[in-house]
Symmetry: C2
Subunit: 360 residues, 2 copies
């Protein structure tokens, strides 16, 4: 039986503490066995309390996507942060990075000589640099064999080049995680060799995404940066990266309309996010009801196809939604309501989404 | 020439004050000529200052989607609010509605006898009620000919039934606005007649969406509830509901990668929202560059296909993005930066997104 905590107002984001702890422990153990550091991507939870749990489980530091996320975690005392993004550093952003570097062991991404120059122009050289490589996602990053060129240019500007990183985002597609991890492994090896050929020792070789991080493959990588693994979501379910038992975050929602094989919930795109990958089977799922799918999403309505009419909830009943892409769901909320598990209904804590909206 | 205001950090939401004022005035004038009230949907802007501009232009009151949005605007002194949603009213929500009704002329939606009963059980009868009808969008609402039945049941419970409302959301598709407005017109006429047959005078007959609100059709409607019209967005462009000259809100973004016919911007789904209707030609557009399209979106990356290499911006340059669905974009931001127009670069104000995240 799935429990429905007594919460005054829906929609609300629930975090099952036991499932969360299990997800953090599993990733930590898997990485430890392989001799890999975990530097979890905090963009998923944006939450001080969860970052502390990750560090307590052995994480080396945090990954973030923006300077303002780094500022939010630095303010809470975190002192080892990698901004996994090819920042364009103007005077204003440079001043913020410089300020961060006073209290944080800070590392940032670059993927061009021009980007390296903007960093060198505005910041001192205590900030570490990782060269981003494209391992197949074709978003940002240089070709792996070009990593040595960019690294040399950065070093010539006085920057402290520590290694390379990649995001194998092409793991997001049914059947693709194993393909992506093989390409990532090759790309990191080529890039690391390119740095060595340029006379630079790659002490950090960083990869990983939630769909691939638990796939064990011999690799030159030193570090994994998964994010979504803490909560899981419907995308990870459809990629076979998690099972429903691993889903730690759900959205408590109320049925506002019910007819035949359809219910409408009060959690729409302003709560769940509007993510729907081309391969996704819907806009989200329902905990404990594997055949139900969100078939349409408005800002405050989720229309759910519910084929099993014997379990279909009625007007006013509550359900727990598994969002498609939990990172965007969390970024829409101000707090996470922590329960002591899926099968109990006690609220044990409320955690602030401290870095919500930190986009700059 | 498009101007790029001097703003320290991207991404940032810019509102062109002159375009905004023009959009508000055009809708107000069109409705006035037709003898219709405008009750703009404040979910789009969630902003006290813009709601004041709408009322100053003659709007009768505000529409919102949630109780918490109503609370945010009531706190700012707005005293005539319609919650256009078939609320399920439990004790907690009932207490909030009751409190709102002390200072606000409050109206809410119902679309079932069961929903009406929860309202009557928890609130007094000063709260007005509109019966939601389904005019073709097939989300919530009863069939138009059933409106009289639900209205009678609500009235029998002591509720103050004022009329009917619908949202012609099936206007969202190329070529569909005129189809939807015709169906909406018929549905409102049928529903109003059904109320009269049940002995209830429909003093409010409310419809309208941004793609349809400016289409002039003889109708029994008394009121329009458009939302997006204040800003426009890429969806409205693709529905031919607006031109680029009507786009009042853009997202200032920085190019972080540029190669061939592709640029990558620092405004991803956590800034723009992930909305992409099945008929949309991309995840967003670029102001002044009608052939460019956002072809892929990550949380902090927008990959843009930019076929005209002679105008393609380079690393570090800024562009202005037209988001697909501006309601979700605004709900991700804490403030709107107001400029004195597209062709100047002066920041004249900063407005807080006061009802951001108000989902309950």
């Amino acid at each position: 039986m799935i429990a429905f905590p007594s919460i005054d107002a829906t929609p609300a984001l629930l975090v099952d503490r036991a499932v969360l702890d299990g997800n953090i422990a599993r990733m930590a153990a898997s990485a430890r066995e392989r001799g890999l550091d975990v530097r979890p991507h905090a963009k998923t939870h944006k939450c001080i309390e969860i970052a502390h749990l990750q560090l307590a489980a052995g994480a080396r530091g945090l990954t973030v996507a923006t300077v303002s996320e780094a500022e939010a975690f630095a303010q809470a005392g975190f002192d080892d942060i990698f901004i996994a993004y090819p920042l364009w550093v103007d005077a204003a952003r440079g001043a913020r990075l410089q300020a961060l570097s006073e209290t944080v062991q800070l590392t940032v991404g670059i993927d061009s000589a021009a980007g390296a120059r903007t960093l060198a122009d505005h910041c001192d050289t205590s900030i570490g640099v990782l060269v981003e490589i494209d391992s197949g996602h074709h978003r940002t990053g240089v070709a792996p064999e070009q990593a040595g060129v960019v690294a040399s240019e950065a070093q010539a500007l006085g920057l402290n080049v520590l290694g390379v990183f990649t995001f194998p985002g092409h793991s997001y597609g049914p059947g693709l995680p194993h393909v992506a991890v093989a390409e990532e492994t090759d790309a990191l090896a080529v890039a690391a060799a390119a740095l060595r050929d340029a006379g630079i020792d790659p002490v950090v070789i960083s990869g990983g995404s939630s769909p691939t991080a638990l796939i064990e493959t011999p690799s030159v990588a030193t570090e994994l940066r998964p994010g979504v693994y803490v909560f899981g979501d419907a995308q990870q379910l459809e990629l076979d990266a998690v099972t429903e038992a691993d889903i730690a975050l759900t959205v408590l929602a109320t049925v506002v309309s019910a007819r035949g094989e359809v219910v409408v919930l009060d959690s729409g795109s302003k709560t769940l996010g509007a993510d729907r990958a081309s391969w996704a089977t819907g806009y989200g799922r329902i905990l404990g009801e594997p055949d139900a799918r969100i078939t349409a999403l408005s800002e405050h309505h989720a229309t759910v196809g519910w084929p099993n009419t014997s379990t279909r909830p009625d007007l006013g009943q509550r359900v727990r939604v598994i969002p498609n892409h939990v990172c965007n769901t969390v970024n829409l909320a101000d707090e996470l309501i922590v329960t002591d598990g899926r099968h109990a209904d006690a609220v044990v804590d409320r955690w602030r989404v401290a870095a919500r909206g930190c986009n700059t």
